[in-house]
Amino acid sequence: MSSTITTRFVPQAKARPPRAPEVNYLNVAYGVKSWLLTTDHKRIAILYLFTVTLMFFLGGAAATVIRLNLMTPTGELVTADTYNKLFSAHGIIMVWFFLVPVVPTVLGNFLLPLMIGARDLAFPKLNLLSWYIFTIGAVITLWAILAGGVDTGWTFYTPFSTRSARTNVIPTIIGIFISGFSSILTGLNFIVTMHRMRAPGLTWFRMPLFLWAIYAGSIILVLATPVLAVALILIGVERAWGIGIFDPELGGDPLLFQHLFWFYSHPVVYIMILPAMGVVTEIIPCFARKNIYGYEFVAASSVGIAVLSFFVWAHHMFVAGQSVYSAMIFSALSYLVAVPSGVKVFSWTATLYKGSVSLRTPMLFAVGFIALFTMGGLTGLMLAALGVDMHVHDTYFIIAHFHFIMVGGAVMGYMGGLHFWWPKMTGRMYSEFLSKLAALIIFVGFMLTFLPQFVLGYLGMPRRYHVYPPEFQILNVMSSAGASILAVGYVLPLFYLIWSLYGGKPAGPNPWGATGLEWQTPSPPPPHNFDETPIVTTAPYEYSLEETDGVG
């Protein structure tokens, strides 16, 4: 194992074995102020970790009440109005305050400079500022949700959101608008850092594939988010002053809002999934002890997904009255996205093939990701077909499809990444048994929650309804039962990860025997990441099947 390290990392002076330093980024300073005024990317990642975890459990709480309400066909738990506010809150919190930021701001922030051998991101103060902007946006949105709520759904479709809704639409969109600047600044910071701050010898094709995925996601953040900002401004203007920008009665066009909204919101689903794909691409080679199959193709597929993501948005509007010809073109373009996604899945499976696979916790999440993402992706192809989409549009089939991508994909990938890099972030190991149990519970709970929803949707149960015909009850009860299992799986890591900080075994610099610059600095890393700037002479993945000791 040590031979792998020396070929990969050649310090400018003589090679020293990495050991736990007296000073690391966690103990370099103490006190609330040292955290709130930090410009260290690693500390900012921890700040984000707190914020997005809180948002995840708030969004999850809304989902819990939704599932409880759907246990009975008549929806006895909450009123229809409350139900509308609950699914809106769930969508808004989960999309903008958890799924979009989670992997880039927590794992990306922590790892990007470490992986490229830099001392920090290009703009450290901007990085801290983006956390503050994010937090302010989150507080405003949460306030709007708690003080009356909003009932438009996370999509804010007009003219409902501009004319009929009697809820806190404007405060909510102000919160989302503000948090958008955090997205833009984070994406900008990442892109510039990767262009300008790489260590000597670290060419683009020596970058870990996680960074290619973060890069592709950042491009989407930077280019798509401004369009959402405009769509939200226009809603605010129309709602506040009664100008008919999207109102057909006043000469406007509601379809324009949907175009602007999905021009952001379709690429945004790739912001959620691309970094998670990058996480999985790091985990699989490490626990298969094999180099990634087809490095260049995986790198190109990330960029390919980012580019194609900007040309498929109108597949959300097949039944919204756009021209049939543009629907056909957007249908065909949507099929194209399957190509780079397929490249990734084939690459992961080819890497596993004849590998020395050890099913440690991160690997369980990664394998779960492949299974669930593939199902989500294939049902996405069904939805790209015009005829099928007409049938299942706005049904639970859509809900099941995108939860397979978002929860089965993005959240699984994030959980895998969190477990993979947790020893690096904290210097501690967590309970292997409990974490494997959590991975298993999440997978089983997820399947039970969302597989029935495919059937429900295909049978015609519309999304966002507070009541449903009694014959759908069995499938809904199955789904709610699965959600309760899923909840256990999500709460469990909260306990054993926090416990690991106090009782976990010291992890050492490289507990998984992984290759990559971040594993060659101590855990937790020192404030400046590397004592000497590393010089990179090899590819990012240097695994070989012969030396499998130390893992498994």
């Binding site: 450290p124 900008l188 510039v192 300008r196 798509a224 401004p226 405009v230 401004i233 002053w241 009664g242």
Partner: protein, 229 residues
């Protein structure tokens, strides 16, 4: 690394060249996001402009072309003084730097003052959709214009010029900050990145106006009598 440069090199960069390249790239990328912001709103404008050409032209003809034209000249001049102040920093001419920066601020303030005056005259002329607007005025035109579509055009006028004005205000704040830095001797031939990237921003805001002028003011057929204050 020269010791004189030590204080301006941030801890996470290897050398000044890397730091400068990084800062320039950051600003260009930020301007790319700005293009998308204005691009989205231009798209919305264009769609309705194509759909309701007659109404948009009628509304455009009521805008204050005189102030719009003067403001164009004012803003272009401010771009010149901005470029000169960047140049003055690079060659180390402190007095010229202060003069040009002050001129840029004065020109920017002139633009915003004239814009405020124009908004007031629009208010006087019943050109505020929803709040102060006379639908009857537009149906009496020959050929008549649809008041609702006219309001749509006016809404875009306020949103677009308003967003531009907000960018101007941000730019003015940055310019004032630059003057303070120049006074402390913190804008020098070695230490010029702050004014360099703010200059890029200022020019970008000017270019946006170059697109706004024809889209908003030159769309309608204006007569000599329209050139009013």
């Amino acid at each position: 690394m020269a010791s004189a440069n030590y204080s301006i090199l941030a801890h996470h960069f290897e050398n000044l060249e890397q730091q400068r390249e990084t800062e320039t790239m950051g600003m260009w990328l930020f301007l790319a996001t700005e293009i998308l912001i204005f691009g989205a709103i231009f798209t919305g404008y264009t769609i309705y402009r194509v759909r309701y050409p007659r109404d948009f032209e009628a509304a455009s003809a009521h805008l204050n072309l005189l102030i719009g034209s003067i403001n164009t000249i004012v803003l272009l001049s401010s771009s010149l003084t901005m470029a000169l102040s960047v140049h003055a920093t690079r060659v180390g001419r402190q007095k010229m730097l202060m003069t040009c920066l002050t001129l840029t601020i004065v020109l920017g303030a002139t633009f915003l003052g004239l814009k405020a005056l124009e908004y007031y005259s629009d208010y006087e002329d019943f050109l505020v959709p929803g709040l102060r607007f006379r639908p009857g005025e537009w149906t009496e035109l020959t050929p008549p214009a649809n008041p609702q579509h006219v309001q749509l055009m006016l809404a875009f006028y306020y949103i677009m010029t308003g967003m531009h004005a907000v960018h101007m205000l941000v730019g003015m704040g940055l310019l004032v900050w630059l003057v303070l830095r120049a006074r402390q001797g913190m804008l020098t031939p070695v230490r010029y990145m702050a004014i360099e990237v703010i200059g890029l921003y200022w020019h970008f805001v000017d270019i946006v106006w170059i697109f706004l002028l024809p889209l908003l003011y030159l769309t309608g057929t204006h007569h000599g009598s329209d050139l009013h204050f």
